[in-house]
């Protein structure tokens, strides 16, 4: 009897599955359907919703939230949470803007902004992984610390001396689509490939499914978690820096409350807050649902106060639907 196989075995070929049938079977199909339904309803009630001009603006707005949510997804997949993304956005944007004001060329300023964000993520990750403090507490502290840094350095004043060459990063377009949409798409592809085809991605899901088993399998769980919080901070920084170009200035209150939008996009997209399940495609759809509804409510002239309440209802509803679906399965 040979227990340790030595000869290479014949690999069986994976049965062909059409892209369409895979989509129908996937977790994401239900929320995609919901998105189409919502767009149809809004399109009927407020016909200018579907006008090219409006869709252009909506897609740009969605791409900002989506970029932040992609990073948040990595953290949530392990059962963690990053509450600091909003203020890290502001800090990174502020760092990039002040660098440009000081005369640094925009590419270097962007790099600097991202590095500042990365450092914040490294602090989060180190405290969570190596000092074993709950992610909720660490990132809540960072939320306050990073926004305090922004206010302290700027005394609340915006930085408005932004070079004209930097503005197209948010306000330009390529092949008819806003530049931020292309950036978001690039990050989405990278995130999807990482989660689906690399050992790092597999391990991220495994930690969310059973951290102890992953550790005992000889995987360096701590290092992975550290990197995850750095990823989350980097995507937040990128969004924060693009927003500087969007508003022609760095505002101290940029990103305020965005952690909730990012988490909501992930949850609406079917990501489990307990960890272990969720996908980039789901997050994209989740961000779209949020963005479309927000825009629809504006077009339908619903007051912004009520909009907040409606978004709240949608988030909870998404969680309830997910619960019902998983109970049935």
């Amino acid at each position: 009897m040979d227990i340790t196989p030595s000869a290479p075995y014949q690999a069986t070929r994976r049965p062909f599955r059409g892209a369409l049938s895979a989509l129908v079977r996937s977790r994401e199909s239900a929320i995609l359907l919901a998105l189409i339904l919502i767009m149809t309803v809004i399109g009927v009630v407020a016909p200018n919703f579907l006008s090219p001009g409006n869709l252009y603006l909506v897609s740009r707005q969605i791409s900002f939230v989506a970029i932040v949510a992609f990073g948040e997804l990595f953290v949530i997949l392990t059962g963690g949470i990053d509450l600091s993304v909003g203020s890290v956005m502001a800090l990174a944007g502020m760092a990039a803007a002040s660098a440009m004001r000081a005369g640094l060329p925009p590419p270097l300023a962007v790099l600097l902004g991202v590095l500042v964000g990365l450092a914040m993520g490294a602090v989060n990750g180190t405290l969570i992984s190596y000092v074993s403090i709950a992610p909720f507490i660490v990132t809540l502290g960072m939320l306050s610390l990073a926004s305090g840094l922004v206010l302290g350095f700027t005394k609340g004043w915006p930085i408005t001396e932004i070079p004209a060459s930097f503005i197209p990063l948010a306000q330009g377009s390529f092949l008819g689509l806003p530049i931020p949409v292309w950036i978001a798409a690039g990050i989405a592809v990278a995130a999807h490939v990482t989660l689906t085809y690399t050992a790092f991605g597999r391990r991220t899901y495994a930690i969310g499914g059973n951290e102890q088993a992953t550790f005992l399998s000889g995987i360096d769980v701590r290092r992975i978690k550290l990197v995850l919080y750095m990823i989350s901070a980097v995507t937040a920084s990128i969004a924060g820096i693009i927003l500087v170009a969007r508003f022609n200035s760095a505002q101290a209150d940029t990103g305020k409350g965005w952690e909730l939008d990012a988490i909501a996009a992930a949850v609406i997209g079917g990501t489990s807050l307990a960890g272990g399940s969720g996908s980039v495609l789901g997050v994209i759809i989740g961000a779209c649902i949020m963005g479309v509804i927000k825009n629809g409510l504006v077009l339908m002239r619903v007051s912004s106060y009520w909009q907040t309440a409606i978004i709240g209802i949608i988030i909870v509803l998404a969680a309830v639907l997910d619960r019902v679906k998983s109970r049935r399965a």
Partner: protein
């Protein structure tokens, strides 16, 4: 023995894709202790969960004390006098015994919302007295032994007016002395007219404690055995549907080769004091001892999962530093933990993803991306070699039987092609046939030269497989017995701290 006061007739139950029960019959008389046996997946737990109101039967009739009943919740069954004690203890580990005992049936001061702790304490002491137990009421239950926690569950049942107590594998994590205590309590319950249904994989115990043994196979009645006249072979034949030589001692033992592992003075609080031993190529070293003697803790320290404070480890003569399970894997040490669901498997992930968890690096293309071809090939190879029964390699391990889950965990360890394999309770909670298969695999691996450290609380398993048996007690090595010296008596006497026969070499 009175007339049957519980009869279940023609019970059928299907789950999506599985017919769990096919017209099964079952009955219990007042004060009778009945064993319900069968391989994993035979339908024992399903049948009992139907009785206790967890599931609803698709077909069939349940008569309880002469009336047809259909309990729709656990609470309803409890009110009627039927209580099920789950295999995974259902308590709140952060609460103290009193709070657990009276959870949901608290005693209040009159009609106020305030708890009457004095009355609850009195009642609890009375109950424990009845059960012949001393329980520390002032510590959280997670700090009490599993046996005591189990007794608290029984006491909880006695708080209600229980007439039928169902215990699902109550002894699976108890030591022999604790089991003896539990049996004492069961006999006491029986004397007071309370019936007990006992689900277990430990056949010897079943013969010892029960009045009647009912065997299920594939959801049907497969026969009954009278423990006074029946034999173990008869019982196993009923269970597996064929005669099976269980626990055949290892054959074809090649002489162990060179020393692969030497552990010198390993220790670390709170459970490991001082452990030294050596392990040779192709050798199976049994680790015996009572639960809490420090065997699992020694293994976890050895692979770097827990911090150690002293001791040296040598592999093939060279001292090594193992600071994490990652180092252990890199050195060719595979660890198969005792609790496969909690410590070994990512349940929602597929067979493939679980099996290759420790060998990601070897499966990558361009240093970053999984090669589906390589990964599938490795998975298929181990699935075939260990005869793991799966429908596809993409099946979530959650859906596999205990035996097949255990094989996936072993395969995951083997995938790193270990020099040293540490097996911690490798056959806990799996059925007789799967057990025999795991034993076959372990013997085969030793034959291929893998050095194996086998931690087991089942003496027959230790005796059947080990070349030498190391016995631990309170964090120390009490004896190392050769194959000839090892017997249930010598092992138990060392484990119980009686004079050791032979001292560690």
């Amino acid at each position: 023995m009175g007339p049957a006061f519980l009869t279940m007739r023609g019970i059928s139950k299907s789950f999506p894709g599985v017919k769990a029960l096919r017209a099964a019959d079952f009955s219990v008389a007042r004060g009778e202790v009945v064993a319900l046996l069968g391989e994993n997946g035979a339908g024992k737990s399903t049948l009992m969960k139907i009785l206790a109101g967890v599931y609803r039967a698709d077909e069939g009739e349940v008569r309880w004390e002469g009336r047809a009943v259909q309990f729709s919740s656990i609470q309803e069954a409890q009110r009627a006098g039927i209580t099920l004690i789950f295999q995974e203890l259902n308590n709140c580990p952060n609460l103290k015994p009193l709070d657990n005992l009276f959870l949901g049936r608290e005693i209040f001061r009159g009609r106020s919302p305030f708890l009457d702790r004095a009355a609850m304490r009195r009642k609890a002491l009375e109950l424990f007295e009845l059960l012949g137990l001393k329980v520390d009421l002032d510590v959280e239950v997670r700090r009490l032994s599993t046996a005591i926690q189990q007794m608290i569950e029984i006491a909880k049942a006695l708080l209600t007016d229980v007439k039928l107590l169902i215990m699902d594998e109550p002894t699976s994590s108890l030591t022999d002395t604790e089991t003896a205590k539990l049996f004492h309590v069961i006999r006491d319950l029986k004397a007071r007219g309370i019936s007990v249904v006992f689900i277990s994989h430990k056949l010897k115990e079943v013969f010892e404690i029960t009045d009647r043994i009912v065997v299920l196979r594939d959801g049907e009645n497969a026969g009954e055995v009278d423990p006074r006249t029946g034999t173990m072979e008869e019982l196993i034949t009923h269970m597996v549907g064929r005669a099976l030589g269980s626990f055949a001692p290892r054959t074809a033992q090649t002489a162990p080769g060179a020393e692969v592992l030497r552990v010198d003075g390993l220790g670390g609080p709170p459970h490991v004091e001082d452990v030294s031993f050596s392990l040779r190529r192709g050798e199976i070293l049994g680790f015996a001892g009572l639960i809490g003697s420090g065997r699992t803790e020694t293994a976890r320290m050895l692979i770097g999962a827990d911090r150690r404070t002293k001791g040296r480890v040598f592999i093939e003569g060279a001292q090594v530093r193992i600071g994490s399970p990652r180092d252990a894997v890199a050195l060719g040490i595979a660890y198969v933990p005792e609790d496969r669901k909690v410590q070994a498997l990512v349940l929602p992930m597929s067979v493939r993803e679980n099996l290759t968890m420790s060998i990601h690096r070897a499966l990558l293309r361009l240093g970053a991306f999984f090669s589906a071809r390589k990964e599938n090939a490795v998975t298929d190879a181990y699935v075939a070699a260990l005869r793991i029964k799966i429908s596809t390699r993409e099946q979530p391990v959650n859906n596999l039987s205990g035996g097949n889950q255990q094989k996936v965990v072993i395969a995951k360890g083997l995938a790193i092609r270990p020099r040293i394999l540490i097996l911690d309770e490798p056959t806990r909670g799996i059925d007789v046939a799967a057990k025999a298969e795991v034993h076959r695999i372990v013997s085969g691996l030793a034959g291929e030269g893998v050095a194996i450290l086998l931690i087991s609380s089942e003496l027959p398993e230790i005796l059947a497989l080990s070349d030498r048996v190391l016995v631990m007690h309170e964090g120390r090595v009490k004896a190392v017995l050769s194959r000839e010296e090892a017997s249930p008596e010598t092992i138990m006497s060392a484990a119980l701290r009686q004079p050791a026969r032979s001292v560690a070499s």
